[in-house]
């Protein structure tokens, strides 16, 4: 499985200098340094002069001409930023291929990766006969974020004050299941196939076998009866979970995607998913899907090891057979390989199975649908607003009262109830407390108020109470 890294290897000089940052993306082969080196290093390596590197006008003109021929719509970008990533391919070229394909995204924006995943899924052609397959496998690594299931309640599942204090985004995916935390030490995989071929174990077993084939790995991996990928029973008697998975089924298609904890910050993960109900209140959301809490651990292997092992096995299991010896590849397939510049790869991989591997990075243009979808996934109305109706009760022991907020459709606060209990010394009278909520009551009678801490706190007139309410809801005041 040379190919995933081949892009990076061709840029050998830089790779050698900065091998300590495996996640770095090299935007453009032709422009030597971009921002990969800082000014200190310029001096160290005698590269200072290259700061002013520019391509000759003739070269730029020639490039433009070449680009114009193939891709008129990208010309504008190139003119504006001749030193920024150059578009060399577009995603649509590969999503409709009638053969198994592995996509490796080098992007780390969670909304973009989810949108790309959905696009690849929606565009995947369905095979006409059941014996052939156009399965897709996608890998992506997201910058830190918390991802909840389609039908979950973020106020219930996530410690929103901690999330907001760390400026970590909350993302809602389109598959079922529970809440997971992503960061750069976690690799996500997504296996897409037909609906008929769907089952929860096929791919979990494949991942298990690939992991167990990695030499010298710390853990032996198992799949339990729920389809979870776990370590074998450790000395403390626990099978630690290393992967959270979820599924989606739609017309004729299905996917199984999941996380794989390799080197994640498990301490942060724990803090993000732990809510102290005595402080943040009880979220009563009987309709939504609850997460199942499990003990987790890191596999402590590199993302390359994981991706290569799983992609290899995917190729062996679902790849197209390459005819041995005399390559009587059909005319059609041959043309495709040449068109995509992948002829070398196909030939170099003289094993008996093959699957294309496509790297998605800044050099690849993404269809407008993907960009629009990413924008949609980012909307509050989807991430929070699509939560089934719920109530949230918070208790203030200092002032001796409880307030229960009722949140209806679209995440809008519909009403609230105040109740009071006896305390030793009442710092604020019952009347004063009621009074501080009057403005809120008036507002939500006629207006839809999205249930965020700052929104609700903004209508509570007593500062001490409003700060406390905002803090309990999501830490925004």
């Amino acid at each position: 499985m040379l190919t995933i890294l081949s892009r990076i290897r061709y840029q050998a000089p830089l790779q050698l200098v900065r091998s300590c940052t495996p996640l770095r993306r090299f935007g453009n082969v032709q422009v030597p340094f971009q921002d990969d080196l800082n000014s200190m290093e310029d001096d160290d390596l005698n590269l200072g002069d290259f700061k002013h590197y520019e391509e000759s006008p003739a070269m730029i003109a020639k490039k433009l001409e070449l680009l114009q021929e193939t891709r008129e719509d990208h010309t504008k970008d190139v003119v504006n930023q001749s030193s920024s990533p150059e578009i060399t391919s577009s995603l649509e070229e590969f999503t409709k291929l009638k053969e198994p394909v592995v996509f490796v995204s080098k992007l780390t924006n969670p909304y973009l990766n989810l949108a790309i995943e959905d696009f690849i899924y929606n565009e995947m052609p369905k095979p006409e006969i059941t014996t052939s397959n156009y399965n897709r496998l996608m890998f992506y690594i997201n910058s830190p974020c918390v991802v909840i299931g389609k039908n979950q309640n973020p106020w219930k599942e996530v410690n929103l004050p901690v999330l907001n204090s760390l400026s970590i985004p909350l993302v809602r995916r389109r598959s079922g299941g529970g809440t997971v935390v992503h960061d750069l030490g976690n690799v996500n995989y997504s296996f897409m196939t037909t609906k008929e071929k769907f089952d929860r174990f096929t791919f979990a077993n494949l991942v298990r076998d690939s992991l167990n084939s990695i030499p010298n790995s710390k853990y032996f991996i198992e799949v339990n009866e729920r389809g979870d990928i776990t370590t074998s029973k450790q000395d403390d008697g626990i099978n630690y979970k290393v992967s959270g998975s979820a599924y989606k089924l739609s017309k004729g298609k299905s996917y199984h995607h999941g996380t794989m904890l390799l080197n994640s910050r498990l301490d942060v993960l724990g803090k993000l998913l732990h809510r102290d109900e005595t402080k943040l209140g009880v979220v009563d959301s009987s309709n939504s899907i609850d997460s199942v809490k499990s003990k987790v651990t890191n596999l402590e292997i590199t993302e390359e090891q994981f991706i290569n092992a799983v992609a290899d096995r995917f190729r062996d299991e679902f790849g197209n057979a390459i005819p041995a010896e005399d390559e009587p590849i059909t005319k059609d397939e041959y043309d495709q390989d040449e068109l995509f510049g992948l002829k070398d790869f196909v030939e170099a991989n003289a094993v008996n199975k093959t699957a294309k591997i496509i790297t998605i990075d800044d050099n690849m243009s993404l269809p407008q649908t993907v960009l629009d979808d990413a924008k949609e996934l980012k909307q509050w109305s989807w991430r929070f607003g699509s939560t089934p109706k719920f109530s949230h009760e918070i208790i203030n022991n200092k002032f001796g009262f409880k307030v229960r907020f009722h949140v209806g459709k679209h995440g809008a606060l519909t009403n609230y109830e105040l109740s009071f209990f006896d305390i030793e010394m009442r710092l604020l009278s019952v009347e004063k407390i009621k009074e501080s909520f009057e403005f809120l009551e008036l507002h939500i009678k006629d207006n839809a108020l999205e249930y965020t801490g700052s929104n609700v706190a903004g209508f509570i007139t007593n500062d001490m109470i409003s700060d406390w309410v905002g803090q309990c809801i999501d830490g925004t005041i």
């Binding site: 299931g149 389609k150 039908n151 389109r174 598959s175 079922g176 299941g177 529970g178 008929e196 929860r200 729920r226 998975s245 979820a246 599924y247 989606k248 089924l249 739609s250 017309k251 009987s286 309709n287 939504s288 899907i289 089934p388």
Partner: protein, 186 residues
């Protein structure tokens, strides 16, 4: 505030009287359990159940789709939609049902909701074109109705058909025999 009440109330009265005069029997009067309806033409006692009328009457036809939905059409040109026993068994324990909204206009193949079971979200598609006029809100509190009675109390939505002829004309809608035959291939 008073201004707005006055403004909205007068056309409302006008339109309701108009519609009753011009279109009898008015459809909304017959079937809206969830809306305020004036001058009902039904003199039968209001039964608590939305299904009351349909239980006694029985469907005109029951059809199935390759995506494992069923469609039970009634004489009032409405149809109930749900998922088949086969689908509900394939899904396993249903833990959440996403319903469409009343008033949604749907085309054949549009998503009208989804079912979550054991970490998987499965889309439900409309087998027919029309307007969603009722949804089974019981599924919100008791999603397991889809497992216990998928072709009865586990109905998902009621659709006012855009064209009644669609049901017979559609090649995608299968008869019970055709559907059963298709299952044998799976």
């Amino acid at each position: 505030m008073f201004k707005s009440v006055l403004r909205t109330s007068s056309p409302l009265i006008r339109s309701s009287t108009l519609s009753i005069r011009s279109t009898i029997p008015s459809f909304t009067a017959k079937f809206s359990t969830s809306r305020v309806v004036f001058n009902s033409i039904s003199h039968k006692v209001n039964q608590q159940s939305h299904l009351y009328k349909y239980l006694t009457e029985g469907p005109v036809s029951v059809k199935y789709t390759a995506e494992h939905e069923w469609l039970a059409t009634f004489s009032d040109d409405t149809a109930f939609v749900g998922i088949t026993k086969y689908a509900s068994e394939a899904l396993g324990d249903v833990t959440f049902v996403e319903l469409p909204e009343i008033g949604d206009q749907v085309e054949v193949g549009d998503t009208i909701g989804s079912v979550e079971s054991v970490k998987s979200a499965s889309e439900i598609y409309s087998p027919i074109a029309g307007e969603v006029i009722a949804i089974n809100e019981n599924l919100e509190s008791d999603p397991s109705l889809i497992n216990s009675d998928p072709i009865g109390n586990g109905w998902i939505a009621q659709i006012k058909l855009a064209n009644v002829e669609d049901v017979e004309a559609s090649e995608e809608l299968l008869t019970e025999e055709q559907y059963e035959a298709s299952l044998e291939h799976e």
